[in-house]
Symmetry: C2
Subunit: 103 residues, 2 copies
């Protein structure tokens, strides 16, 4: 695992909300919730590598995703168990809200 992941008890609501307050990062969370682990290069099209790196860092440092190296790229997955344990019902409500917003 890459070093900067917070432990479960270090995940803070305001950091999670800030991380998700961005349409690109919301889209990533929705994709990871639907598909499980994904290679980081498969998630957002037409975005520069530096911008992608920024988005992964915000999601990782806030505790929303796990990021682990695999060969020449990173695999991303949602920290669903940790988020559900810290904030019961929040992730499901957010995913439902994203569906509402997208429909």
């Amino acid at each position: 695992m890459i070093a900067q992941h917070p432990a479960r008890e270090q995940i803070l609501l305001e950091n999670v909300l800030t991380a998700l307050g961005n349409p690109m990062r919301l889209k990533v969370v929705r994709a990871l919730a639907a598909d499980g682990e994904r290679a980081c290069g498969t998630l957002l099209d037409g975005i520069s590598k530096s911008t992608l790196t920024h988005h992964w860092r915000v999601l990782r440092d806030s505790g929303v995703i796990w990021q682990r190296p695999s060969g020449r790229e990173n695999l991303l997955s949602l920290r669903r168990e940790d988020l559900d344990a810290r904030f019961p019902g929040l992730l499901d409500a957010l995913l439902n809200a994203m569906e509402e917003d997208a429909s």
Copy 2:
């Protein structure tokens, strides 16, 4: 009403999450959820007027609160009906998460 309130259908999830990704603003939302309408001067202690004005604007422009003038100050209230209509279950999950985080 002050002019910059978005209509219900203009409230966007990413804006709401950005607005709430701040401990001061989370605290305000929690107080308004518990107490109903509050005068803006009664909500956060020890914060400069310009910072308060900034927080009220972020909450208002994102659609989280109503802000209306009353005499020499503004009254603030949570747009619970609009938020519940746009994103069912989200506000309650957030309020529960705030309780978890505060306990």
